[in-house]
Amino acid sequence: MAGGVAEEKAALLMMRLSCLAVLSTFLGIIGMVVWRGLPTLRLEMLFRTPSAGFYMGGGGGVLNAIVGSLLMAGVGTVIAVFMSIPVAFYLNVFAPRNSHLASAVRISLDLLCGIPSIVYGAFAFAVMLMAGLRASLACGTITLAVLCFPIMARAMDEVLRMVPRELAETSWSLGATRLETALRVILRQATPGLVSAAMLSFGRAVGDAASVLFAAGYSDRVPLAPTDPAASLPLAIFFQLGSPFPEVRDRAYAAALILTILVVGVGLAARRLSAARSRHVVR
């Protein structure tokens, strides 16, 4: 019996240490970004594009990258939402039981989620070369949509799986069709989870450097047309961190801080939005 107690204590200690690791990673990253980034964060960073000599310590900001990132990740996420919701609903509501298509799709999604983003970038680049397209805002957006589609679809699949089966049966037994059940009952029940899934993939998309490296290119100007090359915050951080000038490297942390605030801000806003809709969720 005493051995059992010791075992339990050891296991509990392990779990607590792991939990501590979560918190310290979170605080470590946020702390480092704030500590290095905040002192160099100027309003100018947010509202100006790089001036001449920016990469050697000159004036200006990263407005080009902020706009590029928001547009590409924002529109890319929206595209991915419209691709993911039908997949998740098909897998959970419409597909016949033991459907081969459904299991093939689930396996594909799992594998796609594990493919590194640089491979998506290289894939996009190859397609663009074949189609004769140049690096642009539009190509970056589509690449990010493709990159976050499997992540989002997989997450939404899990969300819909959690919806109690009896809820759908209740709606069917009232004479509702599958589509009515999906749109009026399951969608409502799952909205908070679907919003979280979309946010998770927005975070992935806005923070990804490798896939947009070839697809969107980089430009010091704010992209005004879909065919313009577009900068992104992760690449802005990457280029500045590689600079030999310490003041430019410090600005990289400021850009990282902007990126972090952006992701957290969008996440919190979405949470507020879905909280209003989750009033009726049945637990």
């Binding site: 809820l167 049966e169 209740t170 009232l174 004479g175 009952v185 009726h280």
Partner: protein, 253 residues
């Protein structure tokens, strides 16, 4: 007499994979009565009930043979519109499942999807069915609140009202009081008594005393077979089969 039967079951067999769960059931269910389906757990009561509104279609590896005729129409015929069959039957499950919307919207769900009522008629309909299930006085001040905030007993009566709002001909109830406290159970039983003049009620129950209190007609099932069926007083007082006698007297369960 046979012409009155609203549901006629003819040689119905159901398999889940290789397990034969319903064996050659043939019987009629009389209209505007409470028919109780009794029997020990695992005897196929719920499966039989799920055949009537074809929810059995959604079960894993289920295979159905035989006919179930509702108002003379075979509901397992290939060209049947399953939503129309389900519209004829309200379902009450073991645990209440309110839809993720307000109390009002729960009751209005059926009329809205079937387009059976104009906007201005829905309000009175909601009141009518909430009164029918004796819930109106308890919820009239908070119709816009989430249905999930009601007590479990109230939720079950809401589910009944929601089913009635579809204007079905029958009510299928699958152990509808098993999750409820005694007071809520009595409220559901009372609702059934009031409803049986207008609806055919089919009640699956493992509570013998409940069947005695409510049933006009009884099906006794055992191991997937319909052992005996007949008017309640006959089944409870002078059953023909030894198995039925042992079950209703509590020797087997």
């Amino acid at each position: 007499m046979n012409g009155l039967a609203q549901i006629r079951i003819r040689n119905l067999n159901v398999w889940y994979g290789n397990v034969h769960v319903l064996r050659s059931i043939t019987a009629d269910i009389p209209p505007r009565r409470i028919t109780a389906i009794i029997g020990p757990s695992g005897c196929g009561k719920t499966t039989l009930l799920r055949c009537f509104n074809r929810l059995v279609d959604n079960d894993d590896n289920a295979r159905v043979e035989g006919d179930v005729l509702v108002d003379g129409e075979n509901i397992f015929a290939p060209d049947v519109d399953v939503t129309l069959i389900r519209k004829k039957m309200g379902l009450l499950s073991q645990r209440p499942f309110p839809l993720p919307m307000s109390i009002y919207d729960n009751v209005a769900y059926g009329p809205r999807i079937h387009g059976t009522a104009h906007r201005e008629e829905i309000g009175p309909l909601v009141e009518k069915y909430l009164r029918m299930t004796n819930l109106w006085d308890e919820v009239k001040g908070r119709l816009r609140e989430p249905a999930a905030r009601l007590s479990v007993g109230q939720q079950q009566r809401l589910c009944l009202a929601r089913g009635l709002a579809v204007e079905p001909e029958m009510i299928l109830a699958d152990e509808p009081t098993s999750a409820l406290d005694p007071v809520s159970s009595r409220a559901i039983e009372q609702a059934f008594r009031e409803l049986k003049d207008r609806y055919t009620v089919i009640l699956v129950t493992h509570i013998l005393r409940q069947a005695r209190r409510l049933a006009d007609y009884v099906f006794f099932m055992y191991m997937g077979e319909l052992v005996e069926h007949g008017p309640a007083e006959l089944i409870f007082e002078s059953p023909r089969e030894r198995m039925t006698r042992e079950y209703v007297s509590g020797i087997i369960s």
